[in-house]
């Protein structure tokens, strides 16, 4: 009976598995194959050539990778610090209001990311909502708040907030109230409870939220283009440029593969290192 159920389960999962294989693995394999083609070819019928990877190293594309990873890391850290109190309140303090807050945050996702970022451009630009009013009322203006690295990080924080908030709230809800109270009763301060009890026990949510935010931020492009005005060039921008204006598919593919390898490696390392079951005491 169990064997039959297993076979049936495999059979039922076949269409989804095939779809995932086609939609996820096939493009990656295709990009991987293009990354080892000679420069500026549009066919896979060529002898493998690693010159695109050489170009990554020699043409300074690593700087774009560093900017992307650095800003992703900064955004992830800021999001963690920013979301922790709110997620804590959602999981432990607010009752009915948690639902209102959830709906409010989720509703922001109903509007396109580009439109929301354009909203910020109109708000922060010279002559925009803030600067325009200030100049109108005081007669003193300034150059606007756009086109720099902090504003790109602000954009990443703004766009990816739900991806940190909800996993974090889920993680914090896994921390038993009794464990926190017991630590307090045993002499722990608020800070010690956070460090010794809450952070380790909420770690599954922290790891998931951080990975989501980091991976999405590392591959983000709209924030640097719209808010940053390409003050710095991120790797996703370089990939797009190589595939479109540059007409150099192998270079674009190689840059994409580098990004996939770095971000995927960090994600796998993070998950393996985090050992979530052990952190929350469920390891067999």
């Amino acid at each position: 009976m169990r064997g039959r159920e297993r076979r049936l389960g495999l059979l039922y999962s076949l269409p989804v598995s095939a779809f995932l294989a086609l939609s996820f693995l096939a493009p990656i394999l295709l990009v991987a194959a293009f990354s080892v083609m000679p420069p500026k070819v549009f066919s896979l019928a060529n002898m493998p050539d690693f010159s695109a990877y050489g170009e990554f190293l020699t043409q300074g594309y690593w700087r774009s990778v560093a900017w992307s990873l650095g800003m992703a890391l900064a955004a992830t850290l800021i999001l963690f610090v920013l979301c922790w109190p709110l997620a804590f309140a959602m999981a432990k303090v607010f009752r009915g209001f948690t639902l209102v807050l959830t709906i409010g945050v989720v509703m922001t996702l109903f509007v396109s990311e580009n439109i929301r970022l354009f909203g910020w451009v109109l708000t922060l630009m010279k002559g925009g909502l803030i600067e325009g009013y200030i100049r109108h009322w005081t007669g003193v203006g300034y150059d606007g708040l756009l086109y720099n690295v902090p504003i790109i990080i602000f954009g990443l924080v703004y766009v990816y907030l739900p991806f940190m908030l909800f996993p974090l709230a889920q993680g914090i809800s896994m921390v038993p109230d009794d464990a926190r109270q017991a630590a307090y009763d045993l002499g722990a301060t608020r800070w010690q409870i956070l460090r010794e009890i809450e952070l380790p026990l909420a770690s599954p949510g922290i790891v998931v939220g951080s990975l989501l935010c980091f991976v999405l931020s590392a591959g983000a492009i709209a924030e640097s283009k719209l808010l940053g005005g390409q003050a710095v060039i991120v790797i996703a921008d370089e990939v797009e440029t190589a595939f479109t204006y540059g007409q150099n598919w192998p270079l674009g593919a190689a840059l994409a593969m580098v990004l996939i390898a770095i971000v995927g490696g960090i994600a796998i390392w993070g998950i393996a290192k985090a050992d979530l079951d052990a952190m929350i005491g469920r390891r067999r």
Binding site: A179, Q181, A182, A183, L186, G187, E196, I197, A278, R283
Partner: protein
């Protein structure tokens, strides 16, 4: 057990919005005693223990630990500790790390911490190799001991227990009740134990405080409360009991000898425990006697319990050894009785 109170509670009141959980209660806990606070669900015992450990702030009144007023001292600064109902062990830490946790907070050196943890493992009869075990590898009873070891680690003045045995199966609970009693005797610490189980309280404690609706009904040693309850609530809470209104129910009870002198014409309720009553022979005299008909019988191992309905349609419970039981089942007329010393008059307003 010293006579000097280690903990004094004066007129302690706790209100939640318009609900009063504790009504200006007073309590003295003696140094080294095992005090059980017992009461039905919702009587305020958990609120009381949370106030005593500092998890709640009183609305009024004071709590003194020796000569220091502690009701405004936060829980993490009090020299007391609580064993939670859920035990609240930290699942991400090993047994040793759990036990060492309060010592680590107090910056005790690692070697000293480990030595203390091993000492406590030995005290709680856990093997030394449990030091490195994960919590999920321990059984229910072992977790109980780890929680106790952790609570004892920093040598608190008083150990509070919030129904820590309630989730365990019967056999394990019975074993741990005795172990807890032994541990109390070995450590000489003051234990304050909250439970809804009277049996637990009777087995372990020196004194029992019975709570009802945010007030103490009676505080005394278990045997005294059992034999001489201060109210019909306490009498009924302490186990099965037969209660007779002596002023209004003389028709059912026949009082003679000392019993007539002691109880006739009194205002109140006469309490007789089922095991104090015996089946009387046809012509046998007893200071307190009542006639009726057996309506049901229940076998309780070596003992047998009868439900008897009197002429006044009152139900009386009698519990006797099986060899002293009656011949014949339900429907058998019977006389039961006891001496005056087995009765207790509860004079309630």
């Amino acid at each position: 057990m010293g006579d000097m109170p280690i903990l004094r509670i004066n007129a302690l009141t706790k209100t939640f919005d318009d609900f009063t959980a504790l009504h200006a209660i007073d309590l003295n806990v003696h140094d080294g005693e095992f005090l059980a606070i017992v009461g039905p669900s919702g009587c305020g015992k958990t609120t009381l223990i949370r106030l005593m450990v500092g998890m709640e702030e009183p609305s009024d009144g004071a709590i003194w630990l020796r000569d220091q007023r502690i009701d405004e001292v936060p829980a993490n600064k009090r020299p007391t500790c609580m064993v939670f109902q859920s035990l609240a062990l930290f699942p991400h830490r090993t047994v040793g790390q759990n036990i060492e946790f309060p010592l680590k907070l107090r910056k005790v050196p690692a070697a000293e911490r480990k030595a203390r943890a091993l000492e406590l493992l030995a005290l709680l009869r856990l093997p030394e190799d449990y030091y490195g075990k994960r919590i999920d590898q321990c059984s229910g009873g072992e977790r109980q001991r780890v929680a106790l070891a952790r609570a004892l680690a920093f040598d608190p003045e008083i150990l509070f227990f919030d129904e820590p045995l309630s989730a365990l199966d019967y056999r394990l609970r019975k074993t741990l009740e005795k172990e807890l009693r032994e541990l109390h005797l070995r450590t000489g610490k003051t234990f304050v134990y909250i439970t809804h189980s009277l049996e637990e309280a009777m087995v372990m404690s020196d004194r029992i405080a019975i709570m009802r609706a945010g007030r103490f009904e009676q505080i005394a040693p278990g045997a005294e409360i059992y034999a001489r309850p201060s109210s019909t609530f306490v009498a009924e809470f302490m186990g099965e009991v037969n209660l007779f209104d002596v002023s209004a129910n003389a028709g059912d009870l026949t009082l003679s000898g000392r019993a007539a002198g002691q109880f006739s014409g009194q205002q109140g309720t006469l309490m007789i425990r089922p095991e104090s009553l015996r089946i009387l022979a046809p012509e046998e005299a007893a200071e307190v006697a009542v006639s009726g008909t057996v309506t049901a019988e229940y076998l309780l191992g070596s003992r047998i319990q009868y439900a008897i309905t009197t002429a006044g349609d009152k139900s009386v419970t009698v519990e006797v050894l099986r060899e002293n039981g009656i011949d014949g089942g339900p429907g058998t007329p019977v006389r039961i009785g006891c001496g005056a010393s087995a009765c207790h008059l509860i004079a309630e307003a």
